[in-house]
Structure formats: C-alpha cells, structure tokens
C-alpha cells in the first residue's frame, strides 16, 4: 500500500521549529524499543519529561528536602520558598489572579473530585442538574455521578455529533433553571476535539451557573488563560504537561473557593484545633491537608519554566503540521477509520480497523518501537457513541516529528500484513 504521496518537506511550516534541539532536552526519547528507535505517541496518557524537570527533582531530594510550612530551620524555609515560588509560576502559567487560587492536588481526577465533594455536596440539592458532555473522560463523569447520588441531583449529557463535536443547540436546550454546574472537557482525550469552551462558559455564566473545565489534555497544547476563558474551575495534571506524576492543580475562582468547605482534614489545613472546634486555614492551605507532594510541585514549576522558554506560535504550527500530516497519511488506508474528525482538533488521532482490534494493533506497533494507547481511553461512553469497543490512539507532543509518523505508517502496514 502506498501510504503517502507527499514528502515531509512540502508541509514544513514557514517558521523553522528546531525539533531536534527540543528532542535533545528529553533524555528518554533517544532510546530503542525492540531494537527500533522509540516513537513515543502516547502523550495523551502521559508526556515525557525534559532533563530540567528530572534534575530539579534530583536536586530537591539531594540538597533541599524538608517539610514545608513547619520548620524554622534553613532547609524547611528553603523548601517552603521553592514550593510557594512554584505556586506563583503556575498562577502565571494559567493567568489566575491570585496565588491562593492555585490548589495543589494529585492530578486532574483529584481536582474534579475536590470540586464535586466540596462544592457539589455543599451547594447542590435534590432536583438540581449538572451538565457534562458525551466526550468526557471517566474522571469528569464518575465524581458527578457520586455527588448526584449523594444529594439527589441529576446528570445531564450534551450529545456529540458524528465528528465528535459538542452539539451546541442541545447544550442550549439542556441549560435551565435547575442547572447548577457545567463540567466539560477542554480537549477530548479520546477524540482530540477542542470544545468551544468560551461559548459554553458564556451561556452558563449568563445564567449564573459555574463552569469547571477538565484541562488535562489542553495544558500541553494550548496556552491557558483562566481569566480570559472565564471559567470558575480549571483542573489539570502535571504529568501530561511534561512535569512529574502525582501532582496536579485545581484553579478555582477565589470567591467560590472561599465559601467551599475543606475536602480533606488534617495537618496544614487548620489554623487552630481543639477537641471542641477546629478553625480552618486560609486559601489555598484549606484544601491542602497533609504533607503535599513538595518535590512534585517544585518539579512542575520547573516544567512551567521550560514551557515558558518555548515559542508557542511555532509549537502550534508544528503540532498542526503533525496532525494534518498524520491524518492525511492514515486516510490512505482504506480499512482504517479515524474516530474524531472535529474541525477544531488537537494532536490526537484515534482510529479503528474493521477486522483488527486495537490491542493487536498496539502490540504490533510496539514491536516497531511505536508506543500508542489501545483501549477505551477511560472514555467508555465515547466508544459506545461510535459503536466501537476500543480504538488505537496516537497522541502527539511538540517533540514528535513527521518522520516518526512515517514510522507509524510503516508499522500500520505491518499490522495489515499480519491480519491480511
């Protein structure tokens, strides 16, 4: 099969993006898998880490490790300063108004659970409605189902069309006086769709309904400005934006965070404890019970510094090129169907074959050094919507190259050779 009829050069963007220099920053990318150069196309699951993040983690544990907000000793003061400096970096990264609007959590999942349990359980009542979309990750479905069960609220779902785009007319129809929260993904992990979040937020805010955005897939691709978006909550994970695992962020508008009760109780989140009464600490500490992932926070700060040093216009052009090159190349396979063909898409290509299951595709691609995700992508309702049990997903980051997509194409040819 002839995979693509054009060369990489014809699609090279005008502004030269030095991807080789970027790749040199990521030590993991230079290895071989099954004797083939690693082609890492599983960035939607987790991204790789630049050397500066790895070195920051090592330096923290080797030279700076101490608990924060506690000790009067030098190391503790140093660790506290580094931890709070990272909070300020992340505030700048999403352009929040205040540091105290940045709450450190384990990841996007915990951030959404925090809002569901703290905001949801306090302010939702029986008969209220929460709106999500049909392309949510399980982590933006299940926490809401749990709170619905607890308070007697109801989950409403905005449908998506066959391209994997949110049907805005249906959203307008679903919004009503009972709607008390809207929680939608910024970018779909399974389909790559970029949701029209500004319109979604505007319609909700016109009714005074708060909006949470699941930004897990958006932060590695887009520059986020929570004030410009106008959302009330924005949840994201460090590990998908070239930072460490186990650390994530909940941005919350402070007017809402102030009136929300703590999510977990423990150390650091209190100002005074007696057996009769406990006074909670101020923001953001009210939501950060226990010793946090200090190294993770500082490592995430290093990732933000790294990202700030890149030219995001060039990155957008490069990622657009990767997606369009890969889309064109995969369309050359008649037996392959792309799932998720929204007009506004990020670097995610989900696809299926009539006769080859995603797992088999994933195993064969791995033998060629190509790492992809095969499965339901923690978005089973999306799979049900498209009537497929699973898809193979190639998800790109700015360190990927068009040459790597050529490797993917050759690996898919091998899949078809095995399965005929």
């Amino acid at each position: 099969m002839k995979a693509n009829s054009f060369t990489a050069d014809t699609l090279r963007p005008a502004a030269f993006f030095d991807v080789a220099r970027i790749r040199a920053d990521f030590p993991i990318l230079s290895q071989q898998v099954h004797g083939k150069p690693l082609v890492y196309f599983d960035n939607g699951a987790t991204s790789q880490k630049p050397r500066v993040v790895i070195e920051t983690l090592e330096r923290y544990y080797a030279a700076e490790n101490a608990n924060i907000h506690r000790g009067v000793h030098t190391l503790s003061e140093r660790a506290t300063a580094a931890y709070e400096a990272a909070r300020e970096k992340i505030r700048g990264f999403v352009n929040a108004r205040f540091d105290k609007e940045i709450i450190f959590v384990r990841g996007t999942t915990e951030a959404i659970n925090l809002v569901a349990q703290s905001y949801g359980r306090s302010f939702l009542r029986s008969g209220d409605e929460i709106i999500v979309s049909a392309m949510e990750h399980h982590s933006n479905i299940v926490p809401w189902q749990m709170v619905c069960e607890q308070v007697g609220a109801r989950l409403r779902v905005i449908p998506i069309n066959h391209d994997g785009e949110i049907v805005m007319e249906e959203y307008a129809r679903l919004l009503n006086d009972r709607t008390k929260l809207v929680a939608v993904t910024h970018i779909s992990n399974a389909l790559g769709t970029v949701a029209p979040v500004k319109e979604i937020i505007a319609a909700a805010r016109a009714r005074g309904v708060p909006v949470l955005l699941d930004g897990a897939q958006a932060v590695p691709h887009l520059q986020i400005d929570v004030q410009d978006l106008g959302c009330d909550f924005y949840a994201f994970s460090g590990h998908k934006m070239f930072g460490p695992t186990g650390i994530g962020v909940l941005y919350g508008r402070c007017e809402l965070l102030e009136k929300m009760p703590p999510y977990q109780g423990g150390g650091d989140m209190i100002s005074l404890v007696t057996f009769e009464k406990t006074h909670y600490n101020v923001l953001p500490y009210k939501f950060e019970a226990g010793t946090p992932h200090i190294a993770g926070v500082i490592g995430l700060g290093a990732a933000v510094d790294y990202l700030k040093g890149l030219d995001w216009e060039q990155i957008a052009a490069h990622e657009h090129q990767l997606l369009s090159y890969a889309t064109e190349a995969l369309r050359e396979f008649p037996a392959l169907k792309i799932i998720g063909t929204a007009k506004d898409k990020a670097g995610v290509l989900s696809f299926v074959f009539d006769h080859v299951h995603a797992h088999d595709v994933g195993t064969i691609l791995d033998q060629e050094g190509v790492a992809v995700r095969a499965g339901h992508h923690c978005a089973m309702p999306v799979m049900q919507r498209f009537g497929v049990p699973a898809t193979t997903r190639a998800s790109f980051a700015f360190y990927n190259t068009v040459e790597e997509i050529d490797v993917l194409v050759k690996a898919i040819q091998r899949v078809l050779k095995v399965f005929g």
């Binding site: 088999d360 049990p389 399965f419």
Partner: protein
Amino acid sequence: MADLDDLYQEVILDHNKSPRNFRAMADANRKAEGYNPLCGDHVTVYLRLENGVIKDISFEGSGCAISKASASLMTAELKGKTESIAHELFDNVHKMLTGDSAGADASDKVGKLAILSGVCKFPARVKCASLAWHTVNAALAEDSRPASTE
C-alpha cells in the same frame, strides 16, 4: 526478544477470523460473562453441563485476536470434557500463559492450546488470553457475578 510470529500464529489468526462455537446457546444451563476492565473486552460463555460433562459450549463477545482465538480454542478443547478435566486444563493454561516456572511443563499438558504459549512473552496480553478461561471457571462455579481479569 519476543517474536510477533510466536503470538500471531496461523492457527490463532484462523480462530480469530473464523471463531469456533461462536454463538449464543438457547438451551445452556450455565452462563457467565467476563470483562477485562482495562480494555473493555467482553465475553459470554454458555455451557450445557450434564452429569459433570460439558456436552456443549459456546461463546459470544468482542475482543482482540488473542482473546477471541483463546476463547475459540478453549470451546473446541472443552467440548465433551468433564468438569474436573476442565479445571485441570484451566490450571495448566494459566501456568503456561503467565510463564510460571512450571509453564514449559504445563504447555505439554494442554494439547492444541499450546499454540497460545507465545503469549507469555507479551505480558500486556496475558489477560486477553485468560479472559475466556476465567469466564468458563465462573460458569462452572455458577458464579453469577461477571468474571474479571483483575
């Protein structure tokens, strides 16, 4: 190094393409469902068990080539066998798939199912191959809860 040809052998590809006993069974007296929650693979196994003998066995569901071929091979192997032989086969297949130290020995005891021995070199795929077996175990035990590979 794991070799792809060990995994996708002709017999496996054939059972994937034309699975044996791939149907619902109206007169089944045992039935169980199996899920692999990691990937969404799903299988239903039907049995007609008479006096401790598997008179008939069939399956339905969706999954990858390995899970489908494994289920197909399993039904072909278990038809006409007693319950106790089925349990013995389950143990040996499990040992073979997980590369248990007794695995090489076990693959001698599983007849045609030895074709699946290549799976143990692909740890991510072991659960695909074992799903149908966990499910038939549940059906034999009359366990009404869905079997899981987890």
